[in-house]
Assembly symmetry: C2
Homo-oligomer: 369 residues x 2
DNA sequence: CAATCTGACGGAAACGTTTTCCCAAAATTC
DNA sequence: GAATTTTGGGAAAACGTTTCCGTCAGATTG
């Protein structure tokens, strides 16, 4: 028989271990392990006996021990900018659902745009030996990234990241959605379209701004620098940016914002200064957070689907983690964006009353069903 | 010397282990362990040598191994209702900050009010062998709780939980803040005050409603049942509840909501039906989420501080986990609430124009600084 | 029928810690 | 100076898995 190792009825916890299952099923612990992990070489009849024993003694494998010996924790790290920005909880939710469904646990952290906080976060994740990390912050200090990079460690970035074998990138197709938004506004007759960006030190904020510039050029519109405002992706930032615009001799007839929170701030600012939306000025957001459709008026916005983002992130991580994942070599993952027309956009002030409005809008994008 | 155990230069990872430190500091691994864990019996001189070696080889202890042998993972579970409800990210943030500062990691999950999801969540947490769980859901199926309770497992609940030695409860003093809100409204002259509750199967929703009833009775006001609406703690629920109130022969002059999201829904509904807030109707929320102050008008609300809640939760958990924590025996932790007067409350419609407004409000609570 | 191959299973090593037990040396006491 | 206590540190067990390797039975081949 096996050596006189103490049974699991020891002092600390009434934890049932693989040994109890083995004893009950009258097999070795190796066989139990194989059966539980679904390794095909074990005889089906025996496997059934093992599973029965598992059921009977209420065995649940110890994750720590598993991780210790296998070197894989089955935990995915997810780094976001700030959990209190409504976009991110939606992303977290989707990410978690997918990860759990695929047998992974999730470790979440938000940087709050604070490098020292970010560094601590990365250290925490390494210490808990996560299997990979998705950095979905729309911008992160490159320095810190290297900490992760040095180890050969599966990483997923949004928009851009160092070109290295263990790094995968989720390429968001900003152009697609932003072009649709610009064309939608242009089709309505807008010529003076302002853009409120995110903090420009963040890569993704820059990418959105560039997409806007490009789309404007495509429809032959120029953007004076006074119409390019730098915000910070918060409501407060939107309010401040609007104040800057309001100080101009003439308010633009439309404002496109780098994210929905900014747009919501703008909406509030406009309400307080008694400008009607969309009659006096049109507002477009970006992200399509849940809140957007409950704004007054419901916000026209460019949708970047959390589901798409989360699903690509989890897939890309697994591709980097699991030795023979079907998409193991794929480095880039495309994320589409699309315009969702609601009620915060209309003809520019001073133009003829609506008649062809719907038709014009349709040319930009289908209205939300 | 030590047995010819393979050094950490093995095939899998270039992980530096306690053994490398021991070799470098020319001590046993036991001593390294003791030094690293700050056990006082180790000679200061030696400890210094160990720390130097730790620094030099870049040693970071393996959490899995630690957890495996010590039986404690240093992970705190945090269960919330829905991460997409803005109240919870704020709570999560505070909780995480505190936990990390005290050397714990956090595992987060949201139930989405779905029992099967909740069960999975609990299983996940047990499997990862968290050291304790804070259930901050404002209501959870008692059945599921038992799963956790059966094991002797540190638990923290909000408002109410089974009376058991391993369970601690955060008692939110709803009365305090809600009484202030009711008195504030009554002082302004309101007599018809409606209440929109949360889903009544949730304990905390019931507690808030009861506090409202009691406070109304205290100021001699009765509440007809048509003024007690059951909502669901979402914007959509607020909009729906308002529709119910609007269908009445006469709209109440004030509405108190069980949470801020409901109040925000009400605000939106009122805007669409062209009722002015606060001129036509006053609205009061509960929670004081970040968003509340950015509403139009800024929302008067009862504040339940996330910081207080999170701090009490972490403390209570540690009290349950750590054998000789100073507050090991404390079972209940009081959480205060307080009224924050902003601009969504005023005299009832039809009363004299404001003059003593501020004075009246002051009697309710000091205005926000 | 003997020799070889195949494949399922068990024994035991390994993962990186904490912690118990024990021993040697130093400090204290008589 | 001998006997005792105290102290600090090392050896090794234990934690609960996965996985390597060897064994043995049964199947296959010559």
């Amino acid at each position: 028989m096996s050596p006189p190792r103490k049974s699991s009825s020891n002092r600390r916890r009434a934890t049932v271990s693989i040994r109890d299952v083995a004893r009950r099923a009258r097999v070795s612990i190796a066989t139990v392990s194989r059966a539980v992990n679904g390794i095909s070489s074990v005889d089906p009849e025996l496997a059934k006996r093992v599973w029965k024993a598992v059921e009977e003694v209420g065995y649940v494998p110890n994750t720590q021990a598993r991780a210790l010996v296998s070197g894989r924790s089955r935990i995915l790290g997810l780094i976001v900018s700030e959990i209190t920005n409504p976009f991110f909880p939606e992303l977290v939710q989707e990410f978690e659902n997918l990860a759990v469904a695929q047998g992974y646990e999730v470790m979440i952290g938000s940087t709050n745009y604070d490098p020292s906080r970010t560094e601590l976060l990365i250290r925490r994740m390494l210490q808990r030996s996560v299997d990979g990390v998705a950095v979905m912050t729309f911008g992160i200090e490159e320095e810190l990234v290297k900490k992760l990079v040095e180890r050969e460690f599966p990483l997923v970035f949004v928009d851009a990241g160092p070109e290295l074998p263990n790094i995968r990138v989720l390429k968001v197709n900003y152009g697609e959605g932003i072009r649709a938004a610009v064309q939608h506004l242009a089709a309505l007759g807008h010529r003076q379209i302002a853009f409120i960006s995110g903090p420009l030190r963040l890569r993704s904020a820059g990418a959105r701004r560039d997409a806007f510039r490009k789309s404007m050029a495509e429809v032959g519109l120029s953007v004076p620098s006074r119409h390019m405002i730098e915000g910070n992706h918060t409501m407060e930032g939107g309010i401040a940016a609007l104040a800057q615009l309001s100080a101009l001799a003439e308010l633009p007839t439309a404002v496109l914002c780098s994210n929905d929170m900014t747009a919501i701030g703008v909406l509030h600012g406009l309400y307080e200064t008694t400008h009607k939306v969309p009659r006096n000025i049109s507002v477009v957001g970006f992200d399509d957070i849940h809140l957007a459709q409950f704004m007054l008026p419901p916000l026209t916005t460019v949708q970047m689907s959390c589901k798409d983002l989360a699903s690509a992130a989890v897939q890309a991580l697994r591709a980097g983690i699991e030795p023979n994942h079907p998409k193991a070599t794929q480095k880039e993952w495309e994320i589409p964006t699309r315009l969702v027309v609601r009620k915060s956009t209309d003809f520019p002030r001073g133009s003829l009353p609506a008649l062809g409005r719907v038709a014009a809008a349709r040319r930009g994008a289908p209205r939300e069903g």
